[in-house]
Symmetry: C2
Subunit: 221 residues, 2 copies
DNA sequence: GACCGTTAGGTGACAATATCACTGAAGTGG
DNA sequence: CCACTTCAGTGATATTGTCACCTAACGGTC
């Protein structure tokens, strides 16, 4: 028996009968990983299903030459369905999931997962919702990359990264990897934002001094 | 009882017990649509699951100003899982599925679908495989758009569109919509291909006269 | 503090792609 | 033949990406 009842944490498990939940607590493992750990990747295809109990996982795609783009983030309470896709993929792909903070994950063996999907409607719709959510996320990424302007996308991402705060601790390179572009491009646009008084920069740090203006830019599409 | 046994056509249904298949034939509808019909779209979210018996569906995304990009194609024998994602989506999205030829689809009510997923492992893995396939497809699109060169992508797409044939009946605008770029860009690259003797153009028609060379360009990544 | 290596960021030149505004050429239906 | 529409070509310009190189800031060490 585990110390914590993680079944409380997930939409797909918290409404299940006590008996089923106890069985789950029995067969699932809880794992702790440090920030920076690769949860999955091309060379590291897990054979179990992963539920994120605590922390954030950043899922990104890497190009041949060193450029990256962030596809989406998995937050606490969500499952990481791309791993299941990876299992089934015969084609090459190059997405990877990196722990963006220290994380706690619940690892559910494939067999238990299968049984749960079969027997529990609530869990089933949880899983389908997770898949759908990711599909929609990817649609958004495609739209942004194919049709979006870089200043609009940057303003938007700055606001997301800052969250409720005014400060972001990130290098230009890291932000470029968020948006799938080159560092120089980010440097120039940030420089422009600074000249217009929207942000203040120091090494490895950006302060959003005019969030409303950034929001106006982000929403100009 | 339907005239044709469509359950023979799909990986997820052809291995099912006769009894289950007969039940399916009973509850599902077969619909015929003309080329150009919108199978689903932002204004047209179906509440049933769709299986493509015959033909091809082109799934594309539309930007604010008239640009498009093709996300993937649904071929005969596959299911169209994006519709299920659309049902669950609370956010706005702008993907649509258009019949690229006359099509026959099997429309399965959501309830029957649910029951089938619950009761039949073979059907369940068929559905999960379909989701995974689309996720992987979208990863590829993101990769291409974010990191790919336009001449490489065009060469690749020309070969796909031609299939076993040497000729393609498509305007520059249509090809631009495949790749999510502007007509002028396609015109210029095609012009270049023609000067290099790789293709011959006439109005609304492209002949691939040197496929090996195109393949070499397509694979130069 | 002085020294040194590393990383973050700035910048100019140029290439690739996108946008805009226009042109003419090729089909279509009267 | 003549309008009319659709398709394709092209120059000018804007945006974004690439390359080469530089300087500034930081972190250790002595």
């Amino acid at each position: 028996m585990n110390a914590i009842d993680w079944t409380e944490r997930f939409k797909g498990t918290k409404t299940l009968p006590r008996l089923v939940r106890d069985r789950l607590l029995d067969v699932a493992l809880i794992r702790n990983h440090k920030k920076g750990y690769q949860v999955f990747g091309p060379e590291n295809v897990p054979d179990s299903l992963i539920f994120l109990y605590d922390g954030t996982i950043r899922v990104s795609q890497t190009s041949g030459n060193g450029r990256d783009i962030v596809l989406y983030r998995v937050d606490a309470g969500e499952s990481c369905v791309l791993t299941t896709a990876c299992m089934l993929a015969e084609e090459a792909y190059n997405a990877e999931g990196i722990a963006e903070s220290d994380i706690n994950v619940v690892v559910l063996p494939k067999m238990s997962f299968d049984r749960l999907v079969a027997e529990e409607p609530a869990f089933r719709s949880f899983v389908f919702a997770a898949y759908s959510r990711r599909l929609i996320d990817l649609l958004r990424v495609v739209d942004d990359v194919a049709f979006g302007r870089i200043d609009v996308r940057l303003a938007e991402r700055l606001l997301v990264l800052a969250g409720g705060d005014r400060e972001i601790a990130a290098t230009h390179q890291e932000i470029a990897s968020e948006l799938g572009t080159a560092r120089e491009v980010i440097s120039r646009v940030l420089h422009d934002f600074q000249k217009r008084g929207l942000i203040v920069q120091s090494r490895g740090r950006i302060t959003l001094s005019d969030k409303p203006a950034l929001r106006a830019i982000a929403e100009s599409d």
